[in-house]
Amino acid sequence: MGDSHPTRPSLLARLCNHRDDESWAQFVAIYGPLVYGFARKQGLQDADAADLTQEALRQVARSMPDFDYDPARGTFRGWLFTVVRNLLTKFGKCLQRPGLGAGNTEALDRLEEIPDSAETLSALWEAEHERQLYAWAAEKVRGEVQESTWRAFHETAVLGHAPAEVAGRFGMSVAAVYLAKNRVMVRLKARVRELDAES
């Protein structure tokens, strides 16, 4: 999970060169929630985070025609992170411990390590990106499997309930639960890998 995966050139290339609606829509669908999620984690409220996201998307849109995607100069994700960071300061938020100011509990504050460096903040961004990839992949996979299958997966893999208990609750066999859990997982991994892969 450690390595940072560069943003697929294909999406960007499409955006820069053709500016077609579909790639823009896909871009918004993936990166919009990423920016939003990151802004929320930095303590912005819902409305402010949405505003920031809008601003960030605008900036991307404005930059698209001139954006010269050159992997050597750094990832697009990194550039977007800079944009978001600047917007955060504009929105009056200092980059701070995740969860601070978001109404988290005192205990949570203690558990969190205080991020100390730009590297850590960048890691937070990367983590959020990772999270967003999973969320996006999860949406896709969910659409491809039966609801009962997804539920079995969610209860066991995400919520951590014992398969036997889940089986009892939903009237499935234990085997079915295990199969559901693992099949979804395989698909999920494949999707995430796909999103990350270089074209």
Partner: protein, 912 residues
């Protein structure tokens, strides 16, 4: 694996659904019972880390956000990534949107309208001059640009504007003739006004004449009254939206684009701040619900602009403006334009009240009042002068600090003089200071005497009987400390008959009439019994600026002790410079602060400090850099104490609501928690930091000046903040002051202050430089005046350490962290910290010990084991917290992740 179990390949195939039915059924049956195969399956599909990742990422979904959905939808709806309306407007292609006009030179036709020319851009549309062929009159046509015509939100807003304006019939509101909302290009036909906007006029002329201001203001107020009567709030009153008809200069309010009926809540996008910030009301800026009184605030801002030529709230960015609108009071009008009379200033001040209920209740009232004044000006003999508006002169100016009534220091002298006057004979015509409110005394003249009672005529027109014994001679002269307009304290620098020139503590200055100033009445406030009286849960913060050497701290100790009936041990390194105590009441969300100034003799004075509310997003307090003890008291008992740090000047305390359920066993737990946030916005890279760089205030650079009893921060564009300090013997000023910030991000204020005479400048340390180095540099450089709480600085320093090879350095870090662990152990024992805080500190300790061991080329296996043991303990504590509902599964996952990473890391290096 038992021989009955299918092979891994088989399981793999089953996952891929690549097996025949019969075999599948058999494997299902086996899977039902066999734990080993269940585990095998899990391992096949994904590694352990992936399972953790999935749980982590998917357990914590972004909660549904309609605001975000709107944003995303809008972003996609614009068929090509498009920027602002302005850009889009620039692409309005008349030829494509309009029908061809028969007349050359005209832009085109739309229905029965002949479009003549573009006259402006406003709101979501473009405004054209057009001729209505059917009625043969010139109209203004506002059209929604094509790109936005396809945006449902924009269209709805456009139609809403039309409806709003159409409902209002008034000379001072632009009339609507027709609206077409369904066409491909929606449009709005309205009165065409030949003339300029108020903004244009101000741009050309600057501040206006008094009569003109009244005339225009009155008309705007009338127009607003008509709108409000229909239940509409304009929400975007600003000079650009006030048209002045040529010739008669009749006012027409325009652009109801943001107006909405008070009950029409459905179409407003959640969270969007609509309107121009500079003329916006605080409630609008805060995104709260607004009513007609928001327009009154904007009216006040427009009046201000007419008086001074510039808007009242200015800053370099939108958010800076919003902050000013919400928190600050504009510069005194008369300071900029002395022609403006006080009564107008008072009216504008009342319109500018931050709370709607403190403003005039209706626009009609304002219109009438302005009309009366205008009538009086035009015919002074015939028309009476209207009654003065009672603007309360001692209302605090927003959240700006009210300087302590320094006059209190004069009290002993004056009180003594007062006592003597018990039998003083006053005579008619004597100029006196007479009390009006319990705490304040105002200049007055004696009019009548009746035994012990004296009838006085206050300079501002009031009359009252007062006790002879409460009077003092009016002795306001150079050097007197007085309160001027809006509750600010300052020193009289010049007296000229009935006028005095006041230099305010915050740098502002003005000529004021005697009747506009006042002084403390001579009765000292009674602080010491305050806490006992209220008996409510109070949130108390004590500011502690460290002093290495300070006389009289024992007196503070005893005073604080009597406050809380509890011993509060203050280390000499923590001896305070100032003590600030804030109280919040349970049912009243407004918290009041009191600032206590230390005096060498150990006396303490109370003065109301800035008021703030417990609402998390709105108010904050400016703090001087340093450590804060956050204390809570109840019924005079200290019940909670924790240390927080303020890193920079202008750092603020913001209250965040606590989501933790109250611990039933401890009734004194705080309702909320205070955190310190930095105002600083700029992230400075190391390369940008130069020596002698000016200090960055909240939004602008500035300089700190340090004089005998004040620390004064002046920003580049003239705003000044003054903090009064403990009286320092000027002959003992040190050569250098070391102020160590304890933040670890780039806003850290670690650095060296250089004192030159009475000026103090800050040289920021290069970012990333570890504090111990600064400590070292500080030694032998002169007297040290201030140093932050060393142990806190030490703890921070360990966490932010850049890897250092220096052994001595590492050893020092270990020692520091060791102390921290011990401190934490004690605090956990005392119940001030939860258990995992200690474990966390121990984790840091072992981490740094391992680094030291590595640098010393010692084996680390034992240390690594202990470290991992602590991680596991942390995890088990986290799980308990999760079961208790305190933290989420995702957080537990994070802790587990750290444990896994530690295990991986230290298994690879070092011994098995």
């Amino acid at each position: 694996m038992s021989t009955n179990c299918p092979s891994r390949e088989n399981w793999r195939a089953l996952l891929d659904s690549a097996l025949p039915e019969a075999q599948q059924a058999e494997m299902h049956a086996h899977l039902e019972r066999c734990r080993q195969c269940q585990a095998t399956l899990d391992a096949l599909s994904a590694g352990r880390e992936s399972w953790v990742d999935v749980a982590l990422h998917l357990a914590d979904p972004t909660s549904a956000s309609p605001a975000l959905d709107n944003v995303l939808r809008d972003a996609v709806e614009h068929t090509q990534p498009r920027d602002t309306v302005a850009d889009a407007a620039g692409e309005f292609d008349a030829a494509a949107c309009l029908q061809r006009s028969r007349i050359p030179g005209h832009l085109g036709r739309l229905g029965h309208y002949e479009i003549l020319e573009l006259v402006g851009k406003g709101g979501f549309g473009l405004v054209f001059k057009a001729r209505d062929e059917t009625l043969d009159r010139i109209v203004a046509m506002k059209m929604l640009i094509p790109v936005l015509a396809s945006n449902a939100t924009a269209r709805r807003r456009f139609i809403r504007e039309a409806k709003a304006a159409a409902a209002i019939r008034n000379d001072h509101v632009i009339g609507i003739y027709a609206v077409e909302g369904e066409a491909a290009i929606p449009y709005l036909a309205m009165e065409f006004i030949a003339g300029q906007s108020l903004q244009d006029k101000l741009d050309k002329k600057g501040p206006l004449e008094l009569k003109e201001i009244l005339r225009i203001g009155m008309q705007i107020a009338h127009g607003l009254a008509a709108a409000h009567a229909q239940g509409h709030v304009h929400r975007d009153i600003k000079p650009a939206n006030i048209l002045l008809e040529n010739g008669v200069e009749r006012v027409k309010i325009t652009d109801f684009g943001l107006a909405r009926a008070v009950d029409d809540a459905s179409l407003t996008q959640s969270g969007t701040i609509a309107g121009t910030p500079m003329y916006m009301s605080p409630e609008q800026a805060a995104g709260e619900t607004v009513d007609h009184r928001a327009d009154l605030f904007s009216l006040g801002s427009v009046l201000y602009t007419m008086c001074t030529g510039r808007p009242p709230f200015r800053a370099s960015g939108t958010l800076g403006v919003i902050k000013r609108v919400m928190d600050e009071t504009p510069r005194s009008i008369r300071a900029v334009n002395p022609e403006i009379p006080e009564w107008l200033e008072h009216i504008i001040a009342k319109l500018h009240a931050k709370k709607p209920e403190d403003r005039f209740p209706t626009a009609k009232e304002v219109a009438e009042l302005l009309g009366q004044h205008l009538a009086h000006l035009q015919q002074p003999e015939q028309m009476p002068r209207p009654a003065p508006v009672g603007s309360s002169p001692h209302a605090p100016r927003g959240d700006a600090p009210v300087a302590p009534p320094e006059a209190t220091a004069q009290l002993p002298r004056e009180a003594a003089a007062h006592a003597e006057r018990g039998a003083h004979t006053w005579r008619v015509g004597d100029r006196v200071l007479a009390p009006w409110e319990p705490e304040w005394a105002y200049p007055a003249t004696v009019r009548e005497i009746n035994g012990d009672s004296v009838y006085v005529w206050f300079d501002d027109g009031e009359l009252s009987w007062v006790e002879a014994a409460d009077l003092r001679p009016l002795d306001i002269r150079e050097g007197s400390r007085v309160f001027g307009s809006w509750g600010f304290c300052g020193v009289v620098t010049e007296r000229d008959g009935d006028r005095v020139h006041i230099a305010y503590d915050d740098g502002d200055e003005e000529w004021a009439n005697l009747k506009d100033i006042y002084v403390p009445s001579g009765k000292p406030p009674v602080p010491s019994s305050f806490w006992k009286k209220t008996g409510k849960v109070a949130l108390v913060a004590v500011l502690v600026l460290a002093f290495t050497e300070w006389r009289g701290y024992t007196r503070i100790l005893s005073y604080v002790r009597s406050f809380f009936d509890q011993v509060v041990t203050l280390d000499i390194a923590d001896a305070p410079l100032q003590v600030k105590i804030f109280e919040t009441k349970d049912e009243d969300p407004n918290a009041k602060g009191f600032s206590v100034r230390m005096r060498a003799k150990g006396t303490m004075q109370f003065a109301p400090a800035q008021a703030f509310t417990a609402d998390a997003k709105v108010k904050s307090l400016r703090l001087a850099p340093g450590n804060y003890w956050l204390m809570a008291s109840k019924d005079g008992q200290l019940v909670h104490r924790e240390l927080i740090q303020a890193k920079l000047w202008g750092e603020s305390i913001v209250r965040i609501p606590s989501s933790k359920k109250e611990d039933a066993n401890d009734a004194a737990k705080l309702q909320g928690k205070w955190i310190v946030q930095s105002h600083a916005r700029q992230t400075q890279d190391a390369k940008d930091i130069k020596p002698n760089m000016p200090l960055d205030d909240a939004s602008k650079p500035g300089r700190i000046e340090f004089s005998a009893d004040r620390m004064r921060m002046q920003s580049a564009d003239g705003d000044v903040i003054t903090e009064q300090l403990f009286a320092i013997d000027p002959t003992k000023l040190p050569k250098q002051i070391h102020l160590f910030g304890v933040g670890s991000n780039a806003h850290e204020v670690s650095g060296i202050y250089k004192i030159d005479g009475d000026k103090l400048t800050l040289c920021l340390a290069p970012a990333g430089q570890p504090l111990p180095t600064l400590f070292k540099a500080a030694e032998g450089q002169g007297d040290v005046l201030m140093v932050c709480n060393r142990e806190a600085a030490g703890q921070k320093q360990v966490k932010s350490a850049t890897p250092s090879e220096d052994l001595a350095e590492l050893r020092r870090l270990v020692a520091l962290q060791d102390t921290e662990v011990e401190r934490m152990r004690l605090r956990v024992k005392q119940g001030f910290e939860p258990a995992h805080a200690l474990v966390q500190a121990e984790i840091s300790l072992f981490e740094v010990k391992i680094r030291l061991a590595e640098a010393e080329k010692q084996p680390i296996s034992d240390l690594a084991k202990q470290l991992i043991q602590r991680h596991e303990e942390n995890l088990s504590l986290a799980k308990n917290l999760h079961n208790a509902g305190v933290i989420t599964q995702a957080e537990v996952g994070r802790v587990e992740k750290n444990l896994i990473e530690a295990k991986l890391k230290y298994r690879i290096e070092g011994a098995p």
